[in-house]
Symmetry: C2
Subunit: 174 residues, 2 copies
């Protein structure tokens, strides 16, 4: 990995750069669920969300920075419903210029490490990935995720309906 | 079916009875994702939501009434993200006293009919059901839903982690 890249948990002052990053990558690749409409949050809303995430035992948010530029996000998003609180949804987004340098692997390792740490109450991690996104699928399989379903018409990109894979990983004993 | 039961689309003035119904059935059966915490919405919020649903081409909400009592809800919940707007999540909840009289079948038929009507833009219906809820699974299979995945630890009920089935049905040609 490039030596100038630093990965750390997000802090409230990352809010503005985080939204800029999401807006940029949403149009940079068709692999995201978010499209040109962008994240639809204000900087203040994002700032508050980060504050809540820091306190949470089911949600965590990492950012990757190259010098001062925010170039990647990795998140486990927990659920507020008590019956689903043990399930975390994973999303990772990396700026295209930083693909293929192992950043996705490194960020995913940090998420899984957090999920297994005492800071987390998670017992199941889930993610969805477009079937055509073979690089990402191989990465998730390498990290231990199992394919649970291939969902026809799971997403629509540029007018085309695409298959989406549902993958999961169990965390700890129960 | 009992002749006093009427099924119709929800109207804003159903809001209070709808929340009461949800609160009641959330503790009546372990099959719901919602638990004793209840729906967590005010009557006014629910009233606004019903108003929005009436205008929507991806969300619909039916209620079943026995005389004036609200005894069942069936919903297709659409997505605001443009890339997922064609996917509708189905949920049905019926008061225990009205189980086993075919009400679930009738309400599901109405949802599927709506999804196939010009009022809808849906191309894929999804639902989750606990693996142990065999009556519901048989109903969904009978209606044409296909099993896509069995998700281990998909829900936690009374301290026990349970398998959850993901089922889907494709709507119309693309």
């Amino acid at each position: 990995m490039i030596s100038t890249i630093q990965i750390r948990e997000a802090i409230p002052s990352d809010a503005e750069n985080l939204l800029k990053h999401l807006k940029k990558i949403a149009v940079e690749t068709g692999f995201m669920t978010m499209g040109a409409e962008g994240p639809g949050k204000t900087v203040e809303e994002q700032r508050k969300e980060i504050k809540t995430i820091i306190e949470s035992d089911v949600t965590v948010l990492f950012v990757a920075l190259d010098k001062k530029e925010l170039i990647g996000i990795a998140e486990i998003h927990g659920n507020i419903s008590p019956k689903l609180k043990h399930i975390g949804d994973i999303s990772i987004s990396i700026a295209k210029a930083y693909w293929k340098i192992g950043l996705g692997t490194t960020m995913m390792e940090q998420l899984i490490e957090w999920a297994n740490s005492p800071a987390s109450q998670l017992k199941r991690l889930e993610l969805t990935v477009q079937a055509r996104n073979e690089r990402a699928r191989r990465l998730y399989e390498k990290m231990g995720f199992k394919l649970e379903a291939i969902m026809p018409r799971g997403v629509k990109d540029e007018g085309v309906y695409l298959d989406v894979c549902l993958m999961s990983m169990l965390i700890g004993e129960i």
